[in-house]
């Protein structure tokens, strides 16, 4: 007894021909084939004397017109959705491979993580330096603090506020050194940048015969918060009775921030 493979094969072809996305077509074909098999098994269980060929014929008949079914299936299984699904899978795999390659090939990824960790460590170290400079911390360098100032100097530059909340005069190696806690507070956290710190410079009170550019060195590293960066700017070899310094920035900004040195403590 032979199974009517040809008619079953043709019926399935006719029913799935309209599905253009091949993986869908194969899946639907498998599903319809399983239905046919189930129907045949049911018929033969109900009618044990029914031949296999007869069961197949009747099962196909009960499934209906394959052309009409095919049209309905083609409407449901849109090819672009299938292609988009495949494309999205490949894109995800390629993106993951690109990241893996950039990590393995020594991209800036690991370096960046290391810098962030170092930044974090520097932050706590720099906080200790600031505490020693302006507060009651223990300095890790040789020098004597002569005065602490509360300048209250503040200016706006773009979407950033430049301020000097604290300052201190120290005597180091026989010279007076003025420290300014220079803080840049940004309106928007993603615009935070430490770049401007390297362009700010201090002009020492010209009445004392100075006027040179100062402040390109610092004590400790810069500190960072979510929206701010700060640094302890060093202005070296200044007179003890210095009354103010003026902070300037890049040309074009016309920043003339006068920092009055109002003594609050020794």
């Amino acid at each position: 007894m032979e199974r009517n493979y040809v008619s079953e094969y043709e019926w399935l072809n006719a029913a799935t021909r309209g599905i253009r996305f091949k993986p869908d077509r194969m899946a639907v074909r498998e599903e319809l084939f399983a239905h046919l098999e189930d129907k045949q098994a049911d018929l033969r269980r109900i009618f044990p004397d029914m031949t296999r060929g007869e069961a197949e014929r009747r099962a196909l008949e009960s499934m209906g017109d394959p052309e009409a079914l095919g049209r309905e299936l083609a409407k449901i299984h849109k090819p672009w959705l299938g292609y988009l699904w495949v494309a999205s899978r490949w894109a995800a795999v390629l993106a993951a491979l690109a990241i893996a390659a950039s990590i393995l090939l020594g991209g800036t990824w690991l370096e960046d993580v290391r810098w962030r960790v170092e930044d974090w460590l520097d932050n706590s170290e720099s906080a200790a330096v600031s505490q020693a400079l302006y507060g009651d911390g223990q300095p890790q360098w040789e020098g004597e603090r002569l005065a602490v100032y509360a300048p209250e100097a503040e200016a706006r530059l773009g979407r950033c506020t430049i301020s000097v909340p604290r300052a201190a005069m120290w005597e180091e190696q026989g010279k007076n050194v003025l420290y300014l806690e220079l803080r840049l507070s940004y309106d928007l956290p993603w615009e935070r940048s430490e770049a401007p710190l390297s362009y700010l410079w201090a002009e020492v009170d010209q009445r004392n015969g100075y006027g040179e550019r100062q402040g390109y060195t610092s004590r400790g590293h810069r500190q960072m918060g979510l929206r701010w960066v700060s640094i302890n700017m060093m202005v070296e070899d200044v007179p003890r009775d210095l009354e103010y310094v003026t902070l300037h920035y890049l040309p074009g900004t016309k920043l003339d921030l006068r920092v009055d040195l109002k003594e609050v403590a020794a």
């Binding site: 993106a95 800036t108 900004t253």
Partner: protein
Amino acid sequence: MKKMRFLPKLGRGGKIVRNLVLVAGLALVIWAQYGCPLPTIDMEFRRMERKNLLPPSEIVLHTGQITVSHSHDPGVPPPKITEEQILGLGEDYAVAFWKHPFSTSGNQLACWSFAEQPGQVKLVPLLYTISDTRDKDWPERESCAAVATLQLPEGTVRGEMTVEAEEGIYQEESQVLEHGLCLFAFQSRLDSYSGDWVQGLPYTLRLYDAAGKLLLEQTGTVPVRA
């Protein structure tokens, strides 16, 4: 044992959305890894200005779009500009921007003040990279100091610039470029690969009209970056 399912079973649309979100996230990581580069050099320049708290300047030069004429040694190939640069002009300052080819962290900005030379032709020393066959160890690359002169007198078609270094005098010529400026490309000295060697040196600038008549002679010091 029944398999535990922590995530809902997704249909095809759900899987597409999930994959696209994943791709977007991974692409964001890659983009951030290269310093969040922007599509055009102009946008990079504007971002760099904002980052450095500078007001927006007027872009007067894209160096990647011009050819530099020069009178270098015979046998030295013409300048091959590898870095894109932008020159912006403000009220009394100029700002130059160098774009790193691969990462935004390598981008650089430099400023020059014109506050001390009011009414004069403005000079801005830029940097170029040119090929130089004289150096056998590194023949492909040499920094070249290119001095841009801005706000030229009306009618200027050609300029000559002389720079006095310790070991001698360097002279270059330039036609007026489409942006209305001259660009003098000074080759680096053999003992110095610093492209900014012209900064701070005394110069003489002569500008001529189409008939060859001298329109302006200006002397001074090449500005040093702020």
